[in-house]
Subunit: 469 residues, 2 copies
């Protein structure tokens, strides 16, 4: 079956030699690959490189304890606990480092105190049954603490503390040393651990700090903004020509909806947990409403799921009559704008009043769309099988955008976002800069264009009119 051009297989010793000969080039290729990946990792987030340098600096600083004789004479071998503490406790974000420091410190103190108590109790009861009693204590606390680690709340914030508790309790209670030795040792260790932890905290907070809260804040804003980009990408690519003609809609550039949909939840929850440890910093107070970001994140994911559906519908080209086309276009571009305004408001911590006119337009466009669809005027040659799914997904998306707007408004209230331009006037009219784009979609309800200018608080009259459409 072999073709005549098939080269002959070399004999085993030659193959062995070839394998050896290729080692350097393979190694070079591997090194090249690692270097390429390292550059990518550093480019994706340059703070990673800074973090590595910070860890190196702290470990080296703490190692000085060994070289400065006066310090070494004080602590002796206990100085190694300082190095261990630094390596174990230093995390990427300030919140992570503080959380681990507190967990480690408090758990060590609590476990040591309890273990000394248990030791005393065992001695009181009798020298003979002391080992058994201590064995029982160790068993019970190990079982209890390991089990407690499965509680969701404990797992999220105190997992490391529980681990340290079990370790410290076991070590102290079974060490079997005389009390004064234990206390002496404990004191030396505590001081070195404190030195390690405080060096860690100082370097972590003072040199280019990475705040988990700030990351969460930016990440949530960025996800909303990505959805906005996705919608604007659709608008730009799908509705290039005028609304008067039949327009062909092609698949737009794909923003990575999937990563928002699938990866964001875990990341947001981790960041929110870490942010809970952080003191006030920059624009954030100590008790910033981090939980509200999780709520906004959930709504963003819901919206992304709906946009996925739209994305699916756009897989094939489609044609729609002008009025539907235009209303969908308005809904698209206004959703995009509203989301980007909301993202901007979160990002800059200003009141999201600038999104209100877009939201009002959105509501109207959504109702227009429903009424056009219900009227059943399809025009000839239009493919309702492709129009209706897009329209239905669009209506869902609009309600999703509205929910995000409500959640961002809640956040702006909780976190006392500043008014735009510091004027303090809420609901101010920000319309005018891109009013033209919505006029086409609202041609049927000219009486409403006044209501929109008033922001999201539409008058009862106008509301009635809208509902009647």
């Amino acid at each position: 079956m072999m073709g005549p051009e098939e080269p002959e297989k070399p004999s085993i010793p030659i193959r062995g030699w070839l394998w050896f000969r290729d080692i350097p080039s393979k190694l070079l290729a591997k090194l090249h690959e690692v270097a390429r990946q390292a550059i990518k990792v550093a480019k994706d987030d340059p703070r990673r490189l800074i973090h590595s340098l910070k860890v190196g600096l702290t470990v080296t600083l703490v190692s000085l304890l060994y070289y400065l004789r006066p310090l070494y004479n004080n602590f002796g071998a206990s100085a190694m606990w300082a190095v261990m503490t630094v390596v174990v406790v230093f995390e990427f974000s300030v919140g992570g480092t503080i959380g681990k420091c507190l967990n480690r410190g408090l758990a060590t103190l609590a476990a040591a105190a309890l273990a000394i108590g248990a030791h005393h109790l065992a001695i009181l009861i009798g020298k003979k049954c002391e080992p058994y009693l201590i064995g029982v204590f160790v068993f019970i606390q190990a079982v209890a603490m390991t089990f407690v680690r499965f509680f969701p709340k404990v797992k999220a914030k105190y997992d490391y503390g529980m681990l340290i508790f079990v370790m410290t309790f076991s070590l102290v209670s079974i060490s079997g040393l005389r009390m004064n030795e234990v206390l002496e040792l404990a004191q030396a260790r505590l001081v070195t651990i404190l030195i390690g932890a405080s060096t860690c905290l100082a370097v972590c907070i003072l040199i280019c700090p990475v705040w988990a809260g700030e990351d969460l804040h930016r990440y949530v804003a960025q996800n909303i903004s990505q959805l906005g980009n996705f919608l604007e990408g659709h608008t730009d690519q799908c509705f290039k020509t005028s609304c008067d003609a039949w327009i062909e809609i092609t698949k737009p550039s794909v923003v990575n909806l999937n990563s928002i949909l699938v990866d964001s939840k875990g990341r947001e929850e981790t960041l929110a947990n870490l942010a809970g440890w952080e003191p006030g910093h920059g624009q954030f107070m100590y008790r910033h409403p981090w939980k509200q970001y999780l709520k906004i994140g959930n709504l963003t994911r819901q919206c992304a799921c709906r946009l996925e559906a739209i994305n699916g519908c756009f897989n094939s080209n489609f044609q729609a009559p002008p009025e539907i086309q235009c209303t969908i276009e308005v809904a698209f571009s206004e959703s995009g704008k509203a989301l980007k305004e909301l993202a901007w408001a979160v990002e800059t911590m200003t009141k999201p009043s600038s999104a209100n006119p877009h939201i009002a337009n959105l509501k109207i466009a959504s109702r227009n769309l429903k009424s056009i669809l219900k009227s059943g005027v399809w025009g000839e040659g239009s493919d309702i099988l492709q129009i209706i799914p897009v329209a239905a997904a669009m209506i869902d998306t609009v309600s999703s955008v509205e929910q995000i707007c409500v959640a961002v408004n809640e956040l702006s209230f909780m976190a006392k976002f500043k008014s735009r331009n510091g004027s303090g006037v809420e609901g101010e009219s920000e319309i005018g800069h891109d009013k033209s784009c919505i006029e086409i979609g609202m041609a049927e309800i000219p009486s409403l264009s006044v209501a929109i200018d008033g922001g999201i608080e539409i008058s009862a009259e106008a509301e009635e009119q809208i509902l009647m459409v």
Copy 2:
């Protein structure tokens, strides 16, 4: 402004007393809450309780080192490393424990060897610049290893090893002891760490082992099965009456699609990473294709996203003409059955041939649906705005189910799933047990009912016929 019934506020000392009086009841309530949560955690997965007992047992066993005098005299204070190892290394799953043991062991050995080398080098170059050189070495390795931890592959499997490397290298290279002392200490520590790790592994594997691979296997099968349940729930609740009448469709019981959509990815990836450490066990070989489960998981999430869209469409009641109703019903129930057969095949590791007839029916139902929709026969009074989105989402779902089927077939090939009943005959006809339900949907293409019986490999002729529909 206060109402007349408003009770007077008690004075401060009385309030203080009330606060004190409430402490016991508050404490009781808190205890009750904790107990309730503990029972829930244990009920959700009883293996958690067993794991806690296993950890307690192992810690107590290792503590014996302190009490057995001959052992203690050998190791002295180094025995504490055994306890530390157990506490840090013992994980819930066998894969986690093995992974941590290997990471800890190999990283310690490598780092210690390198550190001793660095120490020698520093001494060779000169006594005077020794501390500076060692400082430089410590700095460089800490920076490099901390940076390497950000590589995605390293983070997934070797994160803990890198941490231990930095710690061991720093401790050994700066300890400044004479060489023979270091070696003696290192030997004692290594032996105790080995004792700790091997006790851990023995208890972890021999007493009720929790295999991450098995968990992943079950979890993926269970998610597919949940989607099947969701679809069947729809079928049961929406299509109770006969297909001849107008039928009202109400919102079915909600299976938690959101948890599949959002939570499953992280869990699957963690389990797949842990499973990679595990030796062969039960039905799983050493190199079981765990990555394929991740692929199936991704497709399952995609399908869940599409079902979310259907779920949204069913929010309001809707009416459809009988032929559409029936075709959708067929697509629903066959999708549900296909998914449940696939889940069953994964769960029991048998070839998924029993799903093939359902997949064939699905394809036909999907094509029928498309042709009915294209024909534009809506009947009077039917609300196409509600029918079409459901139909469109259904067509998407069908293609998603087909993709899952392909992925499961790949898995069955890679993992050498056994044939059903051990007969070894592939593609055997499994039809007949619920053929009746699909007959309605296929009324228009009777010539195809033969082709379906042949399983998923439909003959070219039949394929042509289908394509023409």
